[in-house]
Symmetry: C2
Subunit: 632 residues, 2 copies
């Protein structure tokens, strides 16, 4: 459907609104004494057109799943986003003056404390991934026609993550996605690398598979037309490349360096006066009803009370890798409830998410080798409770997306992450492929839950629990086959450890997980042969850790604890145990971990050479027991 | 200079070598029973031409600074890289059969344990950044004509980091850089997203500012010509987009799915026979002397014994942000030795690396908003001891480059990293900008040193020490001004804490750094007023931590310790202290940290609301002292 020009007075009204938004951006950052008014001004017309004409929003329920979404990737322009919602009537415009104050949710950068924000932004270059995840869900799961808009700064367009997401969006033909590039020529510390070379942006974005419009971002009608045409473009995401000026319409500030992240100070008044003069024939004209068709209702989705379709069915002693059990559990979850989806970054044949890919191809999203987008898209897909998401790759490669995970935690995302190939037990591939800091990473995310299942039964249950827990869950799985140790009927709970071996004579508590738990059990048998007694504990979740059980069993073993993990020293299971015991005197904790950069070799060789095999556990336990009994 | 065809027999010889390399890749992965022979085969001609004709190498010193460099970004093709060096004569070809064995340095993916490897690869998409860093140094610091080649897989070209680095390379006109894309159409779990659509690769790479050749990657002469022309192209990096086939010349395997990362097993023998048949008129022809001009000698650089040109010159009590002291120290280092360079990601006006940028613009490299490339380029710039590198951005944004830092640690890089704006003390900008997991990140890197200077004097010394320490150093700096507490003559050493307040009556040891150290000092004064006595310790380095001093002072305070940090609980200063005390009974450690996602607000408000202000320290210390004296 071709774009028909709107009446001149409508266009003037949208222009007037843009100026009003500019004024709010100035007054709110003046009140806060910090913030980014010039970065707001360059997108004033973009925001005006999106919010007051193009987007189909529901003021009664800003996170209505059947409405358009906007992600402000350049989160530092938050004041104008807040101003737009206030001008729409969601909350009083006076509240804008509480920007950045402790008691206001109008934070320096947007967070979902606000009911009209889906995800936190402010770490640049992440919005496109989230928007692409939303768009994928809209197109392929909700099968609705709601549209996703994302506003990206030109400074942030140098983030590689942006290009990962554009590639993803084009590959999956996300024609419901519209990416607006605010090319205002100025970054934080100086001019951007590309300035106003619009042709280069065009060439890059066309190369990455977008339907491209290069427009004047301060021309209301250019924007109206581009957004209209975008909505009728099929099989391609649209990139609107808007040539703008930082501080547009701020006399003596517009397009000048050194005005990033600064309120206008004593220039504010004159700029506001100037903007007020630009508002012509205000409150004159109603904006007509939007031209796009109304939104197709979205299906009802119930993402609660997820269960495995059938319980684990293994035989004790059978060698099954926990990563394989992850794949099986995924498949069972989808059998039970079709809202479960999996994403992977070209590692599905290793993570075993390909079990779901084969059984339910529609529930699988291939993200190729691009972990930042993998995580960002997962966060986007989980928004507004449309799906339960599991995203998997090698544990090591989640380090690639730590910033996205960090922002995911700030966003309170419900996405789940599964990292396989942890530790030296992967063997010959060598250190680049070994996850040895993944527990540290995921423990450090506020509100996260970290599972480290020790066998196939507990891994299936971990997946089931993760599907039901709010917030980020991480499940650490291993490459090698390890023996099934739990009965299929064993019950598992978050923060609940399992004691696998105990006697009243125990002298030391051994704590390990998966491969190192197996080594602990072997060491315990060895110790028994020389008349020493070790208790063995499987924590199941590293965060929260079962502090009560560790205290109780630790005290029962005279306060002697040995923690063994296939991870570096810092931030892993060992330090989690130490944190749990920090306020108690009387414990000695010996920690065996990977002490240096590992290397290639057979898994068993590496466990031994890097000091976490049964032999080392045996030796360390014996030493501690002997020394301790000498001292006391 | 135009490319002149080589003699037919030379071309045949290079083709023969390619087949010999293929055979080595098969036999070595057969011996290892794992590895990626098909991924090797697609680059056999590329490697043959580079190693046996194009590159100017020094077999006597493979890391000769005056020689060309190759980075194998697709590190899983390591066997053919090893084979090339072996065939060149660096080590016996028989050694190739030790691939992936514990006692061999021929690991599954390349690491600098080998004297011909500059950086570890294997986590995909990182090679271009490193190569770009090397190229920048070659062009602008060494001012030599050595060239940098980097081989990138098509699967990994979806990593955004690749595009960050291409942007960087084009912006800085790195015409000494040649990026070879091995477009073999197949990824790990299936076909790549772009397959053999060479035009799309061309459009993208031209859009990103490269001089582009699309060639048949199995045609020796195509490669010879492209590398020749690349060497004579000015002001642009060259991208050679090579159309190849995975498992090329492996009958019934070539171009077939499901052969990623698998040795050929029982097909190996027949494939080897086939390849041997393809070797025509072998050992017949000498390869002529290379056509490129010889390498311009590189300047002598001494990167040892770096000093500040002048000592710190502050007045005790003056309010100076540690980030500002970082900028000052950088400038002083360059004044002393011009080998020091700084990189920043469009945050130089906030990190104060702009002090160096203004004083010594030639020693500053702008990396724009692209932290993965920032870190990768820093690692590249530090290679072969050409420069001492400091790379800075907000502490929070290093999470974006955790994978690059992880690989940097495996590479034993000597690059230094400075993260500003740590913790809630940044205030109004809100959680997206707060580094609250950066200590956890940098502690978890093997061999790292983590500085957390508490004032301007100690920060300048931290920068000086970091410049001299091998391995990754991280310096955590703060945004707000904090009082200078050390005399300008105070001496600082790695792993050496400073006790700032003590008396024989001390009942508790308070440990903090920078903003929280100031709060500890305030709390100690408060405690004194109610007759309680606290000792205050500044650790200076978090890794290594001054265990002796903490033990000694902790015992002197009856084993009561209170650690306060502007960081999340996990992996930070608190858990570092707990690890240091793990093997001792008798300590109680109370830990105050940021317990949840923070929000915008005034710095002082946030310190208090999130529980790390003097008031909270006072209260916690009082409580512990009282409870403990009741118990004992």
């Amino acid at each position: 459907m071709a774009y028909l020009s709107l009446k001149e007075e409508t266009i003037q009204e949208l222009q007037n609104i843009a100026h009003r938004l500019r004024i709010h951006a100035i007054t709110s950052t003046q009140a806060a004494k910090s913030g980014h008014p010039t970065s707001c001004s360059s997108i004033a017309e973009i925001m005006s057109v999106l919010f007051f004409y193009t987007m189909r929003l529901n003021l009664q329920n800003p996170r209505d799943p059947a409405s358009d979404r906007l992600v402000l990737s350049k989160g530092h322009a938050a004041p104008i986003l807040y101003a737009a919602w206030a001008e729409l009537g969601l909350f009083p415009v006076e509240n804008l003056l509480n920007l950045r104050k402790y008691n206001s949710d109008l934070e320096g950068h947007p967070t979902p404390r606000l009911n009209f924000i889906d995800v936190a932004t402010g770490s640049l270059g992440q919005g496109v991934a989230v928007a692409a995840g939303m768009a994928y869900v809209g197109k392929y799961f909700d099968k609705s026609n709601y549209r996703i808009y994302v506003v990206v700064g030109d400074g942030e367009s140098t983030e590689g993550s942006v290009w990962e997401s554009l590639h993803f969006a084009a590959h999956h033909k996300l024609d419901n996605l519209c990416i607006i590039f605010d090319v205002n020529r100025l970054g934080q510390s100086g001019p951007t690398s590309l300035g106003h070379q619009m042709d280069i942006y065009r060439q890059r974005l066309e190369g990455f598979g977008c339907n491209v419009y290069v427009i004047n971002g301060h021309e209301v009608e250019d924007l109206l037309e581009a957004f209209h045409e975008a909505a009728y473009t099929k099989k391609k995401p649209t990139a609107v490349i808007a040539k703008t000026f930082k501080g547009k319409h701020f006399p003596n500030i517009e397009n000048m360096d050194c005005w990033h992240g600064r309120p206008l100070g004593n220039k504010a008044e004159s700029v506001i006066n100037h903007l007020q003069d630009l508002i012509v024939d205000a409150k004159g004209h109603e904006i007509p009803i939007k031209s796009l068709p109304s939104i197709v209702p979205v299906p009802n989705v119930d993402i609660t009370n997820l269960k495995l379709s059938t319980p684990p069915a293994y035989k004790i002693g059978d060698p099954i890798a926990t990563r394989l059990a992850y794949g099986s559990a995924l498949e069972k979850l989808v059998e039970y409830n079709n809202c479960v989806i999996a994403l992977d970054g070209d590692t599905s044949s290793s993570t075993f998410s390909d079990k779901l890919k084969k059984a339910f191809p529609d529930n699988f999203i291939e993200c190729f080798t691009a972990e930042q987008n993998l995580v960002g898209a997962a966060i986007g897909a989980a928004c507004r409770d449309r799906t339960i998401v599991f995203a998997s790759t090698f544990a090591a490669f989640f380090t690639r997306a730590f910033d996205q995970l960090r922002m995911g935690a700030i966003s309170g995302t419900n996405a789940n992450f599964v990292g396989t190939h942890c530790g030296v037990s992967i063997g010959e591939d060598g250190p680049s492929q070994m996850g040895l800091e993944d527990i540290a990473l995921f423990r450090a995310l506020p509100g996260s839950t970290v599972f480290y299942p020790s066998d196939a039964v507990s891994c299936e249950r971990a997946v089931e629990l993760a599907a039901n827990i709010k917030g980020i869950c991480f499940i650490r799985t291993s490459r090698p086959n390890t023996a099934v140790i739990y009965d299929n009927n064993e019950s598992f709970a978050v923060g609940k450890a399992h004691v696998l071996k105990q006697s009243p004579k125990d002298q030391i508590l051994l704590i390990g997980a998966c491969v190192t738990l197996m080594e602990c059990l072997r060491a315990a048998i060895g110790l028994e042969k020389i008349g020493m007694h070790a208790r063995v504990l499987d924590p199941f979740t590293i965060k929260p850790l079962d502090r009560e059980s560790i205290l109780e069993n630790g005290y029962a073993c005279y306060g002697l604890i040995l923690v063994v993990e296939d991870h570096y020293q810092q931030g892993g299971l060992g330090e989690a145990v130490l944190s749990a015991l920090a306020d108690r005197r009387g414990f000695i904790v010996k920690h065996l971990f990977i002490p240096s950069v590992p290397r290639s070799g057979a898994p068993k060789t590496l466990l031994d050479k890097f000091g976490i095999s049964a032999r080392h556990i045996f030796k360390a336990a014996k030493e501690i027991i002997e020394i301790d009994s000498t001292v006391f």
